[in-house]
Amino acid sequence: GSTFPPLKAGTLRIYSNRICPYAERARLVLAHKDIPNEVVNIHLSKKPEWFLEKINPLGKVPAIQKDDKIVYESAVCCDYLDQVYPGNKLIPDDPYQQARDRILVEHFGQVTTQYYKMLFGPSENCAAAAETLKKGLMEFDKEIQKRGDFFGGSEPRMIDFMVWPWFERFHATEKLVNQIFISDGSMPNLTAYMDRMLSVPAVQKCRLSTENHLEFYQSVKNGAPNYNVGL
């Protein structure tokens, strides 16, 4: 029922949602590259008609808009921002490294599938999904050892910002579904990685706390998603 908020010429706007991990990917890139932007949060269970009609017929965040240009799909937004705003480049120059990083994101997609099964799927499948999730994360525990402090090497690169949002939510999820899949000390390399990421300025800017995430998930389970947690 809302109206389209007017967009000033030359302003970069991100359509987002404070708790959406996919939108967080784009917000991390914007923060890391110091790209001035304005944020318009979209209510994800009551999407404004103008959002579907003018911005993204798929109705998903993130979407970015500047003048007459609109981009959506989180990975596409991130790549686009990195190309158009060249400072603090996030995508590796080497095509093979680029390819391997994108492949890693694909593998991580398998992890997030299990994550959502565990979180929102039938409760009788929860433990099995947690087991599968853990196995998937073990591969990442191995991988980070090969790559350095971050998946991007000595510094966080695009790959780190593409996967971080879910790592951010793991502790809250463990509490919510009562399944331990990362906090049992079985993946020390990943745990150390998560700590290092928490010190990255872009992450500090964009993250919500474990308590915020837990509160949000509980509100979803109660049938009334509260997108304003922590405000």
Binding site: K69, V76, D79, Y80, V84, Y96, R100, H107, Q110
Partner: protein, 243 residues
């Protein structure tokens, strides 16, 4: 030089010569065809090893734990996932560039590919569901086709790439090639004739030499398709005397 016969569980991995680019493929896989189109268009020398996707060789899963084709291998470098393979090839072999230079155009093309993967999924659902369930997938398919029609019309040329073929044309083509084959033997619940620009595109694409070189033999494809519906995919459907 490996034959076209697919490699299955228990087989030995055919030796790969240093410096040779190999693509692991399957003769009827549309995703693998994306990579073959790019390789062919850019004249990139390569060898093809076909994989039995129902009974995958263990050595293949070592190279690609996801076990999918296409997978590229050269010396110790392995790349998989069709869109990633295509982008990688376009960057590493810079002649006959397929990716648009403009970042916004690149982004719009990737968004179209995303919408297209929905279309693929809806189309597969439609082909495999009983007639009474078709209406829902059908509406989604029609909406998607409208979008592709608008995208194509906006490009002001016969191709998604404008006046010449670009990456997006090759990423979409394999499924339209199959739709055209199906349309000759099965009444489809939608008609490409309703989408004039797309229709023209489906007639233009086969003029492209790379498309011709990588084309499916309709008879073989339909044989293969029948065998998959019967639960026993025949990856090595014999070539007919007319192919």
């Amino acid at each position: 030089m490996p034959t076209q016969q697919s490699f299955a569980t228990g087989s030995a991995c055919p030796e790969l010569e240093a410096g040779t680019l190999r693509v692991y493929s399957m003769r009827f896989c549309p995703y693998a065809q994306r990579a073959l189109l790019v390789l062919t268009y850019k004249n990139i020398p390569h060898e093809v090893v076909n994989i039995n996707l129902k009974n995958k060789p263990e050595w293949f899963l070592q190279k690609n734990p996801l076990g999918r084709v296409p997978t590229l291998e050269k010396d110790d470098r392995i790349v998989y996932e069709s869109a990633i393979c295509c982008d990688y090839l376009d960057q590493v072999y810079p002649d006959n560039k397929l990716t648009p230079d403009d970042p916004y155009r690149q982004a719009r093309d990737k968004m179209t590919v995303e919408v297209f993967s929905q279309f693929v999924s809806d189309f597969q659902k439609m082909m495999s569901s009983p007639p009474q369930e078709k209406p829902e997938s059908l509406q989604k398919i029609k909406n998607n086709l409208c979008e592709f029609e608008s995208s194509l019309t906006a490009r002001q040329g016969a191709y998604f790439g404008g006046n010449a073929v670009q990456m997006l044309d090759f990423l979409l083509w394999p499924w339209f090639e199959r739709i055209l084959i199906f349309a000759k033997v099965v009444p489809l619940t939608f008609s490409l004739e309703d989408y004039p620009a797309l229709c023209e595109w489906t007639k233009k694409m086969p003029e492209c030499p790379a498309v011709q070189k990588c084309r499916l033999d309709p008879q073989q494809f339909l044989e293969f398709y029948k065998s998959t519906k019967a639960g026993a995919p025949d990856y090595d459907v014999p070539k007919t005397s007319q192919s």
